[in-house]
């Protein structure tokens, strides 16, 4: 498999630029870092009024079909939007909504999509997708939670940790393993008597999560998304790699700018510290990383728009490089802000924590490179053995 063809212009149009400009302006005004800080200490972790506004702007339905209240736009639009939300650490669970939309699109029947998508687009429904399973893994083979047919419906068992916005979600979609050994995605309305929702104490206070414990939770037959199991989970993942990478590049960009600004403002030895090459060069390396990662994010989005069936390599490359670049950006931000960077008052730690979260979810650099190595070099020694 090789890198697929993408249009030389990435499919970029004026429209994309309009979205970017408006998203940037809106978030600058409505989601400054002081607001992120305030919300990080609030019980819910984000602002429901802002959520409604975001929905009215069409963001939540950006890639959902127009027939269901969405805007019917593509991945490049989404990448551009998520770069902006990542820049501002928007605490609203937009990424979770996107994953949910990917799952409905991949595996939902017409009726299921008609039922959930309008509410998702309007923001009336806070929804999430449970990526991880009992042991913390997220790939198809690691899904242990089970679904057993009973009484015309299904009984779900297992643990789904790290579910974004899990404590407030009215819907969660998650993979479960059926008796046949195959996976199926289930859309579970919450609350459900058999689902215990335990809010988690996360490292990243701008992205709340919960542990969902399915204790023989009963769901009706219509909760089972009716196509495709593991293949559909894979589609959600591939789109997820690209989407999360976009958000990460935005975060890395913000971190870079914050560090740059500090290196200009801060003086020591009667000089701006940014004039020292020991400070300047590491910042430049972050910029280079951000630009290379951004190229991958845009190309992965273009691949998803124009060659969706062969977008896996681009999406994995985007997540791999973003997972290297964002952590370096935040590490340097804390370090180069000096003693101040180490404090609660400095905003760098918010980005730092988001970077840790983002690298850990949906595969880090090593994880994706392992897959890509098989594409480039064939099976490894251990795979052969």
């Amino acid at each position: 498999m090789s890198y697929p063809q993408i249009p030389a212009d990435f499919g970029f149009t004026e429209e994309h630029q309009v979205l970017r400009d408006s998203a940037r302006r809106f978030l600058e005004e409505r989601c400054p870092i002081a607001e992120v800080r305030r919300l990080s200490e609030s019980p819910l972790g984000h602002d429901p009024a802002l959520w409604k506004e975001i929905a009215r702007l069409g963001w939540l339905g950006l890639v959902l079909p127009e027939a269901h209240g969405g805007a019917g736009l593509g991945h490049l639009h989404l990448a551009i939007l998520l770069e902006e939300t990542g820049r501002r650490l928007l605490p609203a669970p937009v990424f979770a909504a996107m994953l949910t939309g990917f799952a409905l699109e991949a595996a939902g029947s017409a009726a299921q999509r008609a039922r959930f998508e309008p509410a998702l687009a309007s923001g009336d429904l806070v929804a999430s997708f449970a990526l991880c399973d009992t042991g913390g893994g997220w790939e198809a083979a690691e899904i242990e939670a089970s679904a057993t047919a009973r009484d015309g419906g299904f009984v779900l068992r297992g643990i789904k940790p790290f579910v974004i916005a899990g404590a407030e979600a009215g819907l969660v979609i998650a993979p479960f393993r059926e008796r046949s050994g195959e996976l199926a995605l289930f859309a579970v309305d919450l609350p459900n008597r058999g689902v215990r929702v335990e809010g988690e104490i996360g490292v990243d206070p701008t992205r709340r999560s919960a542990r969902l414990v399915f204790e023989d939770a009963f769901v009706s037959a219509s909760a089972r998304l009716d196509t495709g199991g593991a293949a559909m989970l894979h589609r959600v993942h591939v789109r997820g790699f690209a989407a999360l990478a976009a958000e990460m590049v935005g975060g890395a960009e913000s971190t870079l700018l914050m560090t740059r600004d500090y290196a200009i403002a801060r003086k020591q030895f009667d000089r701006q510290i940014g004039s020292f090459q020991a400070v300047k060069h590491p910042i430049v390396d972050v910029m280079i990383g951000v630009e290379l990662a951004r190229t991958h994010v845009l190309a992965a989005a273009a691949a998803l728009d124009h060659a969706p069936d062969s977008a896996e390599i681009p999406a994995r490359m985007a997540k791999a490089i973003a997972s290297e670049v964002y952590p370096v950006a935040v590490r340097r931000a804390v370090q180069l802000h000096g003693g101040y960077g180490f404090t609660w008052d400095c905003d760098a730690h918010f980005y730092f924590k988001r970077a840790l979260w983002s690298r850990a979810m949906l595969g880090d650099g090593a994880h994706h490179r392992r897959f890509l190595a098989a594409e480039l070099l064939g099976p490894s020694a251990e795979a052969r053995a």
Binding site: S2, I6, F10, R260, H281, A299, R369, L372, L377
Partner: protein, 407 residues
């Protein structure tokens, strides 16, 4: 693995690419049976030089050089900017590089930019045809990264200028008819304002070209001593005192930060992850191959991701809307990232080869004629020449990020 070019192209471009590709296939010269240089930095013998010059001439005669240059100066004035297609296809075919690199890619575009009508008419066509080879006289023993402290002096005479001084790292000086020369015309003016830019004739009396030997043992670059060497009035390019500005324009072209090249590629052996992968499958290690080693696999893939980022970035660089935050970043970082990528790649190849990487040029058992250790060593020509990686980081920090100057 990636082909060099994977973008979806408009028909007329795709058509042109097919034509060029077919031409390369039919006309690419056969292996001459003697060692060829890997890049323009190590052209040593006459037969190497003649072979390469003939090749450039052939490409020019086929109409594939100067496509973007105006027709009145020997170019084609092609509005479609097809030159980069030719360059890509030259690389793809692994054709020999075009020997007049400094003329095609550095001097030529600078002359197009600053030259008088007479200068453009005089110099440009013979650059394309390789009839006249160019070299660059910028660096001096005491002026490397701090180029503006150059002390080579050009003094006015009744007929023009008299040059005294010393230039180093002068690639191709031994084969050149002309040199782009940065010299001090006004020692009383400021460091930057006292410099002027000349098109200097290498056959002038008072010029001594002495070969320098590189760490690979190869020649190809030189030092040039000027001892009251004379040039005419019309040798000045741009205004007197404008030399720094003109030189910076040349460096933009040299670093691939600006478009406008007459064509060609600087190396025959643009290494790629594709070639690294095929090497990895041949290189023995621990009872298997390097391609099966988990650590080496991971590092190879890091380079693959970089390579795709560079390739896709060259597309992205042409779309202003995808570069609004930092319009110049991709172009200005290109030289740094590309040269460091090449260095890492050739070094990784040596590591993959293990003990076999220790054989050198001339040993009959050397893998790929010792191309890999040679490429690794030669890669430093690119991370040092044209402004070191450290200077590139200063430029990026200051011009792109707006950080304060380092001095």
């Amino acid at each position: 693995m990636s082909e060099l070019v994977q973008e979806v192209e408009p028909n007329e471009i795709a058509e042109f690419r097919r034509e060029v590709r077919a031409w390369m296939q039919a006309n690419k010269p056969a292996d001459p049976g003697f060692k060829l240089p890997q890049s323009f930095l190590e052209v040593e013998s006459d037969r190497q030089f003649e072979f390469l010059r003939d090749w450039q001439r052939k490409v020019f005669d086929a109409g594939y050089l100067g496509l973007d240059w105006p027709a009145e100066y020997g170019g084609k004035g092609d509005p479609l900017k097809r030159q980069r297609i030719v360059s890509q296809e030259l690389s793809r075919a692994r054709a020999p590089f075009l020997v007049n690199v400094i003329g095609l890619q550095w001097a030529g575009p600078t002359i197009l930019h600053y030259g008088t009508e007479a200068q453009k008419k005089r110099y440009l066509k013979s650059i394309l045809s390789a009839e006249e080879i160019w070299c660059q006289g910028f660096s001096e023993p005491g002026a490397g990264s701090d180029l503006a402290s150059a002390t080579t002096r050009a003094e006015r005479t009744a007929e023009g200028w008299r040059v005294t001084g010393h230039k180093v790292w002068t690639t191709l000086a031994h084969k050149s008819k002309w040199m782009i020369l940065l010299a001090r015309t006004d020692p009383r003016a400021g460091k930057y304002e006292g410099l002027s830019y000349f098109l200097f004739p290498m056959d002038a009396t008072g010029v001594t070209v002495q070969p320098l030997v590189k760490m690979t043992g190869e020649g190809g670059f030189n030092q040039v001593i000027f001892d009251d060497a004379l040039m005419g009035r019309d040798a000045l390019l741009g205004q007197e005192g404008q030399g720094w500005q003109v030189a910076m324009t040349t460096l933009l072209f040299e670093r691939g930060a600006a478009e406008g090249s007459g064509g060609g590629q600087a190396t025959s052996s643009a290494e790629s992850v594709h070639r690294l992968a095929s090497l990895a499958k041949r290189a023995r290690r621990g009872g298997g191959t390097a391609a099966e080693d988990p650590v080496l696999r991971d590092r190879a893939v890091e380079l693959w991701i970089q390579e795709e980022a560079l390739r896709l970035g060259s597309l992205r660089a042409r779309i202003p809307g995808l570069n609004l935050d930092r319009p110049q970043a991709l172009r200005l970082m290109n030289k740094l990232v590309y040269s460091e990528f090449n260095q890492r790649l050739s070094e990784l190849a040596c590591e993959m080869l293990g003990p076999a990487s220790t054989l050198w040029l001339g040993d009959e058992h050397a893998v790929d004629r010792a191309e890999w250790p040679r490429a690794y060593m030669n890669s430093f020509g690119m991370t040092i020449g044209g402004g070191t990686s450290e200077i590139q980081r200063n430029i990026l920090g200051e011009r792109v990020l707006g950080l304060p100057k380092s001095k």
